[in-house]
Symmetry: C2
Subunit: 447 residues, 2 copies
């Protein structure tokens, strides 16, 4: 919807100017949209701090090889990449993890473990323009580096859930689907699938929702899996952890591989998140680098949308940054989330922008008004006034337009007595307050 | 200094990985640097709100023509620009004003005037790599659109000063140099300089500090100015407004042209900023589009550096966006400012990251600890704990490392009695508190 808005824009172009539009897939943030973005970012930052995470950031432009190294050359097709004037191949960052890995690697020795960092980068992808698809979005990234214990997995999932709870979403709106690639691998082994084929099976399973069981089943059979194995793989989705334990009771490998996930879910239940989490053996996630726990948070109702995805990637930092440290994390984008908040009426009303609107009856009061504005602002109050001499009625109109909580009227007669008339804009109540008291803050809480 | 750091980085690369460095001139923001950046951005946002301004943002990537239209093709040499996969010429934004003009123009009719907006974009320039020169920085942009009265000029200059005062800088650190192109133009006319040459004289005067009076004098004489006119132009710098009024008493045009500036400075004095502002007739600013008030804020001591520049550009929105509205504003970058804050020891210490560090004596207390963490975080407290079972001494070490204010120790004996031991990490004082009270927040303010 947003990108289509661009084409509907009309401006009052004068004859000598050409209207230049923004690039397709890039958003303008007018004050209302920026306020919602800040609302989301502030909530994310509060949750980051509550979980003991610190914020970092990196460059929006990186060497192209930082991404091809991780994902191979096929990723180039989706990248916003260029050759710069120095002949260097560069790309607008499509994800934060390679930058994160580079930064961690550069200081790995000096950072106490586990490292708990978060970031809110703007990310870019070059996609063919189509119905409302954006080429940029913001994404909360939270990661823990240097810890293999399932407590870390539970911690990062809890933080992801709280990043949404902080915005007013609860277990009636969202659910975290959780699985573990080690467990699914053990199940595949128990079903006779060779280890070398597991990655391909993950890739096929990841398309289950989109392509349906028939097509995925065919893909699996093409890879040489037996009909029986394929049927049992496709039936994994609805199974509970207990169901899997029963089904594969004979296979110790499956029970062993289930242990970390059982712990993760147990910790989340102890944390009071039982209503938010659901084991889902059909969840594998598309990216190749996950090594253990994987999870996605979905909205429950209406048109199902994923708002968050992540997992454990114990080998990636070694491959990307040259430091051998276990790690896990998630990404949560702003676009689907903000749509969801709007759909659920969870966008907060914008708070009154202005607290005190100053009104001068004549220009003789201007100097007093300016001194008062300075005094009020120095105490942190939000102050505005008309930026030219106008009739009092028009100034009150401006005060209304600014959403001011109170109007402070300075007039010649009152000024002579050292007072101003203070009007509560909601109730209309007016009373006289000494200008000294207004200057010194003896009265700023009340109309 | 920052960009040189890159080359000093060393990582423990394993044989199969190649270290990829960030691009020259781009900063990584590790937690300490990000904390300083957030400190500055938060101060800017507070000041913006206090002046009744609302925040906006636009895309970091824009069509190249958005910039060439304003500044001509010569600007392309300094732009980070590319041809994208669709064959479109695009550029990483080097400044915010063209985006601002585009956004204002698209909704000009519906926005109440004056428009008071601010933004904190990251901006990009392609410069040859040299000693510490960056290719990106962040910049506070504040603008007022739709008001010609000098009150608006005073307001924007006051906001710029307060954006620095909010960070601990005062009139002993900074000074705002203020002038008005209309006044300098009137003086040039009084000196017999043709109107058509004024822009060239502004351009020459802007180089006065860098090139010295001899070279600038020669440039002016080359343009056909008389020796007498050149001498008097070069002597403008130290003149006060009163001095100018005296010198050009015979020329009514100069007195008329001085009127807005006299008002601006009068308003700033009424606002209590007399110590912060200084008229400086030699200030013209380099950019061609200024039409009236111009100002720059400089640090006073040590190596002089400008931290802010701006002015009135009444014709630019019409040229750029096709809406004929007067406007004024300023830009304030983060790089020089953060150097200045560091030099003046105005970087705040990082606040204690963690408030409560939870310690489990045995894993039997884990579930209680997780429930307590959830309860504390739901009340907004910053909570952390070790993400695996460890000896109590090591957990206390982690609590210290995290800068925790208090450690909450859960042990089997205490848990049986429904209490936890709470240690104030600064004083070492320890006392027992009921777990219920900790859960319900009856006790969270105290150790």
């Amino acid at each position: 919807m947003r990108s289509r808005r661009t084409s509907r824009r009309r401006t009052t172009s004068s004859a000598r100017t050409i209207e230049i539009q923004s690039l397709t897939g890039f958003r303008d943030f007018y004050p209302d949209e920026l306020a919602l973005r800040q609302h989301v970012f502030s909530a994310w930052r509060r949750v980051g701090a509550r979980y003991g995470f610190t914020e970092y950031d990196g460059p929006p432009l990186e060497p192209l090889e930082l991404y091809t190294k991780k994902s191979g050359d096929e990723i180039v097709g989706q990248l916003y990449h260029f050759t710069d004037k120095g002949g260097r191949e560069v790309a607008l960052r499509p994800e934060m993890t390679p930058t994160f890995a580079r930064m961690i690697a550069a200081r790995a020795g000096g950072l106490p473990k586990p490292i708990r960092w978060f970031s809110i980068p703007q990310l870019f992808r070059y996609e063919r323009p189509q119905r409302g698809r954006l080429r940029e979005h913001f994404q909360l990234n939270m990661d823990i580096v240097g810890e293999t214990d399932p407590l870390a997995d539970a911690e990062i999932i809890a933080a992801a859930i709280d990043a949404l709870r902080e915005l007013g979403l609860d277990h009636t709106h969202i659910v975290a689907r959780i699985s573990d690639r080690r467990l699914v691998s053990a199940i595949l082994s128990a079903l006779g699938v060779e280890a070398i084929d597991h990655a391909a099976v993950f890739g096929a399973l990841d398309k289950l929702e989109k392509e349906g069981p028939e097509k995925v089943g065919a893909t699996l059979r093409e890879r040489g899996l037996s009909d029986g194995a394929v049927d049992r793989i496709l039936a994994l989705g609805p199974l509970s952890l207990e169901g899997i334990a029963e089904t594969f009771a004979a296979d110790a490998g499956v029970a062993d591989a289930a242990a970390p996930l059982v712990e993760v879910i147990g910790h989340l239940e102890a944390s009071g998140f039982a209503d938010y989490v659901r084991f889902d053996a059909s969840l594998v996630r598309g990216l190749a680098y996950y090594t253990g726990t994987v999870f996605e948070i979905w909205e429950r109702s209406g048109e199902l949308r994923a708002v968050c995805g992540g997992g454990r990637y114990d080998d990636l930092l070694s491959a990307l940054g040259g430091v051998d440290l276990p790690a896990l994390g998630f990404g949560m984008g702003d676009v689907v989330l903000c749509e969801l908040l709007k759909d659920l009426d969870l966008v907060p009303p914008r708070s009154a922008r202005v607290e005190d609107f100053l009104i001068c009856v004549t220009e003789d009061e201007r100097a007093t008004a300016l001194a008062l504005a300075r005094a009020l602002r120095d105490r942190g109050r939000r102050v505005s006034y008309d930026l030219r001499a106008r009739a009092v009625g028009k100034q009150f109109k401006s005060a209304n337009q600014a959403g001011a909580a109170r109007a402070i009227v300075l007039g010649p007669e009152e000024s002579a007595r050292g007072v101003a008339s203070v009007r509560d804009m909601a109730s209309g109540d007016e009373r006289e307050v000494s200008i000294d008291a207004l200057m010194n803050g003896d009265n700023h809480g009340k109309g």
